[in-house]
């Protein structure tokens, strides 16, 4: 820094080096120092956050379990023509017997069974039932393995079982992603699942649609409030601002529990409606455990995220513009719609993208007030992680959700700029 400020000559710096080089050196040093300051955090985020997400993405395509558990069978099966209408030959069965014995000893047979069961229901019991006896196989003289295996479980006589093993033997699979968009690998390549098994696309559409509704309700509710705050004298505006910031700072769970108490059939709102006489005691409104509950509670929770950016934009719009428009003969409405509103669009845009991004990833609130129809794709991800244990599918769904968010994030960065995010 000092040698840069000390530089006085047009060509040479004080120490005799050419100014250009000296400046470049200073610049390099500056860059390096900035990077040194950033490096620890960048490293921290990479390890504690980016790597885990990368790991999750990897899981959505990883399929090494089949080839690792059944290496011999996978190799032997590569020569089998699934469309031949015949079962694989004895060599494949012998390879499977050897694989099963080894897998049983490592207790890996049921894992590969459950993996393949996602693609072909029933396979898991074929592996489970055969595993136990496989531990006692005498590989030297126990054959012929075709008969032995089919005798153990007639699933081995099902070509579908072999076809599934063959199809899902590569170490990388698109199976989870296909499942996540309601497709599967059929005999003729990828195809849609039957109508009755399509869930995830509908759920994704529902998640996007409800997030859109929530964003829209936030815009409608935030606009007047932001306008009022921006046009009140500072002192009053600051006081009212507390009413916006308090919910913002209050725990998400506190707000969700509050809504649960308010919206229940025996809850505060229904009680008041019954008491006033608007609703009969036997016909209390059902406003929780459905989409309505989710939308109301989430609108409330996300509203401050809409008000704050709108407010900061509206604050910068001089009130004289409106007065000028009116003095030029515009009606109240024209003045607002043609002069004021266009200037607030950046605020609406910033708030909307922020609210929408936050909304589509919500998990807690839909889980508590959403019932079955008001849940989001996050809830399905959680279900597959902790209950159905299909981690590959959970990761694939997560990857799709992440892609949607990243596109929006990119748009946000283009339109608003990440640096311009303001809090409070």
């Amino acid at each position: 820094m000092s040698d840069m400020t000390d530089t006085s000559g047009p060509v040479l710096a004080a120490d005799g080096t050419p100014l250009k080089r000296s400046l470049a050196k200073a610049l390099r040093r500056q860059k390096l120092r900035a990077l040194m300051l950033i490096a620890p955090l960048l490293l921290f985020i990479l390890v504690s956050f980016i790597l885990p997400i990368g790991d999750m993405l990897y899981r959505s395509v990883e399929n090494k379990i089949v080839v690792n558990t059944l290496p011999r069978s996978v190799e032997a099966l590569s020569g089998w023509d699934a469309d031949s209408g015949e079962l694989p030959d004895e060599a494949v069965f012998a390879a499977m017997a050897a694989d099963l014995k080894e897998a049983y000893e490592a207790r890996a047979h049921t894992r590969v069974g459950s993996r393949l069961n996602y693609e072909y229901p029933g396979i898991s019991s074929v592996f489970r039932k055969s595993g136990r006896s496989a531990g006692r196989f005498d590989l030297e003289s126990g054959g012929p393995w075709k008969d032995v295996l089919i005798d153990l479980d007639d699933g081995w006589a099902d070509q579908g079982v072999w076809r599934t093993i063959q199809t899902y033997s590569p170490p990388v699979t698109s199976g989870y992603f296909l499942n996540a968009v309601d497709m599967r690998v059929g005999p003729d390549g990828a195809e849609m699942r039957p109508e009755a098994e399509r869930i995830y696309m509908n759920l994704l559409v529902r998640t996007l649609w409800m997030s859109l509704l929530i964003t829209f309700s936030c815009i409608v509710l935030a606009y007047p409030v932001a306008w009022l705050l921006a046009n009140l004298p500072t002192r009053q505006a600051n006081l009212l601002m507390i009413l916006v910031l308090l919910p913002f700072w209050t725990s998400l769970l506190v707000r969700t529990s509050a809504w649960k108490i308010l919206l229940q059939q025996q809850g505060v709102i229904n009680d008041i409606l019954v008491w006033v006489g608007l609703v009969d005691d036997n016909a209390r409104l059902i406003i929780i455990n459905n989409q309505f509950g989710t939308i109301v509670a989430m609108t409330h929770i996300l509203l401050p995220f809409m008000i704050l950016p709108m407010y900061s934009v509206m604050q910068t719009i001089p009130p004289s513009y409106l007065r000028a428009a009116k003095s030029l003969g515009a009606t109240e409405w024209t003045a607002f719609w043609r002069v004021y509103f266009p200037q607030t669009i950046p605020g609406i845009g910033a708030g909307s993208i922020l609210v929408f991004i936050l909304a589509i990833g919500y998990y807690i609130t839909p889980a508590l007030v959403g019932g079955t129809k008001g849940t989001f794709i996050s809830n399905q991800i959680a279900f597959h992680i902790s209950t159905s244990l299909n981690w590959g599918l959970a990761s694939a769904l997560g990857a799709i959700l992440l892609a949607v968010v990243l596109v929006l994030y990119w748009a946000y960065d283009k339109i608003v700029g990440i640096d311009n995010v303001k809090l409070g």
């Binding site: 207790r107 049921t110 898991s124 229940q264 059939q265």
Partner: protein, 368 residues
Amino acid sequence: MKLVKTLLASSALTVAAGAVSAQDMANELTLVSWGGAYQASQVKAYVEPYLEMHPEVSVTWDESSAEAVAKLRAMNEAGNVTWDLVDAVASDSMRLCDEGLAEELNHDEILAAAPDGTSATEDFGELLVSDCFVPQIVYSTTFGYRTDMVGDTPPSSVCDIFDLETYPGKRALQKRPIDNMEWALYCDGVDKDALYDTLGTDEGVERALAKLDTIKDQVVWWTAGAETPQLLADGEVVMGSTFNGRLFSAIAEQNQPIGMLWDMQSFDLDGWVVPAGLPADRHARVMDFLKFATDTQRLADQAAYISYGPARASSAPLVGLHAELGIEMAPHMPTDPANAGNVHVYDYEWWADNRDDLNAKFEAWLAK
């Protein structure tokens, strides 16, 4: 008399424990259970007595039994199992055993024999459904109803769930295909022995879902066992399925106007599973605790706090009165002959094969 016996039994155990503690035993014990009234019954029946005998031990509870398989799998992948003893339902214990995540146990060697000398294997009998499983209780998923909302003819059959005319109002069902699909088929006229054969076909699944469709608008789906009693108490539903012990505590302990429906209740088991690969000192502690917590007297004691049937045959005659209410517990057990007239035993094997497939169909149906 009972007190003397308990004292004798526990002093005998203290001696036995003293012998074991020659080798090092860890003093921290992480137990995994379900929370709520059930966990409370475990605390009172054998965790507190055990801690009294071993004041140096401290117990941490993790209420994660619902995610036992997922979490154990993750811990196992990391090679860092933090749990010592896991309470799990039978189907989960089989899964854990198959995947090598649970330790295979030699029941006669590690568990106490019955007071009359019957071996543990014989005492538990056919409830030892897996080599990795030490059963504690027999429970059932059954229905409760609001006595003040069903008129003069309380429901007597599981099919009354589907009868919206006689019993209008919301019903609570568990958000999963298991049990619900079987009940739907049964009430649609399928023979009890043919339930799984029917469910194994696409038409059967459609038939079950079509039956559930008739009440779909009136169903509140629950995921945690405590929800139904709460919904019943609040009058949010007129009837609902849940574990019989939860209903018992709502009826007998909290005096809620709830009645119990014993028909086609689904029988299941719950018990302990030891995670595979525990270090020696923790393993020794777990085995010491497990032997104590599953002996005849302890299992019978547990029944004084919650209405689940003890898994040992030798415990049944010892089931006495409720610890606080002083009422006879036996008639509230799912194993009581009066209650077990028409029961449904669900097929673990079948569900293990078809769970993923039916889950997808069920979820798709729910979302429709």
